[in-house]
Symmetry: C2
Amino acid sequence: MLPSSYEHENCSIARALEMVGERWTLLIIRQAMLGTRRFDEFQAELGIARNVLTARLERLVQAGILRRSLYEERPKRYEYRLTKKGTDLWPVLMALLQWGDRYEAPNGPPVVIEHRDCGGELDDRRRCRRCGEELEAWQVVRRRGPGASRQSVAA
Amino acid sequence: MLPSSYEHENCSIARALEMVGERWTLLIIRQAMLGTRRFDEFQAELGIARNVLTARLERLVQAGILRRSLYEERPKRYEYRLTKKGTDLWPVLMALLQWGDRYEAPNGPPVVIEHRDCGGELDDRRRCRRCGEELEAWQVVRRRGPGASRQSVAA
């Protein structure tokens, strides 16, 4: 935690990072955007330690970024879905993706984000390069890019 | 680190987070964008432990996000400036800022980002709300917002 009396704590970047400023947290949110909902799926897909995953999910529920709902009574099992506050992190993920594509993807982007309706690529202001539409998370699809490895998820 | 054989590691979001997925790192970069250059200034402005700051700066130099240059010979002292790779993280910071403004700023944004030339606010695709120009980091100024505390930096 930043010292609470410090002037820079009153900064929305710092406050956002208090919620999501930890790598696993944003990867959990990425995974939730891809449709992952259950503890074991998060665990398998991220390769994260179970105790760390438990703590991160708990924190995200407390922060109102994920909500938890029961999907099985006996034993009790829960699934996790993004709230509006959670899906509103999409621009953060896209900004990280595009920076990573530019600087950390020597073979080209592993995944290309496209406008579902017309197939145009997402530009750096989240518009469609082809039709110009301003895109939201639910209007895009992912396809394999030039830097995809054999195992990469197609969509 | 994610297990290196895992399919999701080949993801630009994960790779970006390997570089900047730690709260101090992005706060150091924010600070550098505000003009901070010297170790003691970073230390005082962020309230970060010196050993942590040393490690983070080192990592950022190695990653090519900051470059280090000597500004004093005896004793040797260095300053740190963002490279292009570093300033290209501006969209990530703005996305975090805007999410933080929306969800973690009950008194309104502490800082408002404006187009230097015309005073219009930055929109959520980094354009000027007034004149529509697509803005870059060097075209904006910060002013106190409704959520600013007494000590908040004005610009």
